[in-house]
């Protein structure tokens, strides 16, 4: 059984990258080219963190975890760490979080709608990583 990793740690990032690369081939990502930053406010250690994804024609190219200002992305989703954790644990839907102002999306909403199902796929892969929040 796989050990539990700390959410957003370097070990968690490595595992996430491995799973996204193997479980979401370009055709599962609709050959999309895009980038997205999740910006986590009020993390348990008192910092703000980000999780940055970049896809090129559906290929998973980049996954970064860091503190402070994230790289420029087509979409930026900002919210409290706890909210993202609830979404990753499957306790809260991303859409409901957006509609109740728990998350804020910056970027072209029309394009975001086209990518909503892909974001769900991505979240489902990440949710399966045994993690400690």
């Amino acid at each position: 059984m796989m050990e539990t990793l700390t959410y957003l740690s370097e070990e968690w990032r490595d595992e996430a990258e491995k799973r996204l690369t193997t479980e979401l081939p370009p055709e599962r990502m609709n050959f999309v080219t895009s980038s997205m930053s999740n910006i986590y406010k009020n993390c348990p250690d008192g910092t703000d963190k980000f999780l940055f994804f970049r896809f090129d024609e559906g290929r998973f190219e980049e996954l970064l975890v860091g503190e402070g200002v994230p790289p420029k992305a087509e979409f930026a989703i900002t919210g409290d760490y706890d909210v993202f954790a609830q979404i990753t644990r499957g306790e809260l839907g991303a859409q409901k979080a957006l509609m109740t102002l728990k998350l804020k999306l910056k970027g072209n909403m029309v394009k975001a709608l086209k990518l909503a199902s892909l974001a769900d796929r991505l979240n489902k892969v990440l949710a399966k990583i045994p993690a400690e929040y």
Partner: protein, 407 residues
Amino acid sequence: MNQTAQPNDPYFIDFPDRIWKIQLEMARQSIDVYLGSRLRTLSWTTDAFFPWRSFIVIPREGLPTAFTFVIDAARAADDSWLDEDHVYGFAPMGGQDQIEQIADFIKDILPEGRGRIGVESGMSNYLPEGWLTHYEYQQYAAALDGCELVNAHTIIDRLALIKDEGTINRFREASRIVDMGHQAVYEAIRDGGYKGMTETEIAGIAGLAMRRAGSEWEWSFTGGNEIASGYRTGLAGGACTPASRRVIQAGEPLMVDIHAMFKLALGDHSHNYLIGPSTERQRWHAGNFVDIVKKTLEAYRAGITPSLLAEQMMGFAEDLGFADHMVPGFEHGIGMVGDEWRIGLNDGPFPYWTNPDHVYQENELVICAMQYACPEDAIGFRYENPILIHANHCEPLSQYPLGVEEI
């Protein structure tokens, strides 16, 4: 993407040039961002129809970005010359409502998030005008802390006043379509065909014919195609008659005022009938009406003003003894959809009404509009036709023969 984006297309409009001219004027007035909200502004800058509350953000340099209800943004982008990266959708989601989304977008444009923002504030008797509401103004002022909001709609009004060739050609086509609608109505009501028909049915007959000919919409907010029969044609000052379920009757007048839209250009022409048998008194009214329409069309030209024209026409009606039946106004403004009411700029004695001393210039478009009404005789007629102002005459765009036909 829009199919008339090629310069050799007769309906081509150089939208990037329009934006560039707006930006030149913004620079002259030290405006950093123009936040348009009027339907006429959206039409004139995007070449797309925006039926929902929408906005356009024009930076000092580069392409504008339109914002509309998310369910319609992809369609609007598809119709517009702007691509999907410049038509955003807003929705009630965190960061995506129209205030926060647009305010954030503007702040990203402005150095340090500060600057002068031109907005569109005013009033109109035209309901779908789209002025910034008091609530919106307050919300944007709060969200754009450090910015100055200034009224700037005259920039668009001035630039949109004189019509370019592509716009004029679109209006010509919209009028040709309207003429086909009138022909279809005539074919339907002649030889007793009117019997049992309602005003709404006539509106539909015209609508179908015009749609078949390429019209996108019976665009008028006054109820689409306006039809009046009998006493409804002669309601005092009654220049607005959404079609009713009234059945057309023998011995009554019938007014058919129909509207087509072609690439956001607007056709608007009224034709009038007497359903036989007609009386001499009805024919006298009809003759008066045709005479004053002819006289008015002869008078329109560059250099004339609405007040001068009204004075001349009312004098003519007085001399011939029917001034009591004339509404003393002979025009309303017209432009791409959303621009229907005021003529010229907001520079008259009554704010946001037509300046009676507005001097017409070549290549202005106006709806020549007249309402003749005699409530006592339960009779009235309406004339509307887009006319293009030339140096020494006007060009009626609808070419359906003028007259009051007896059916």
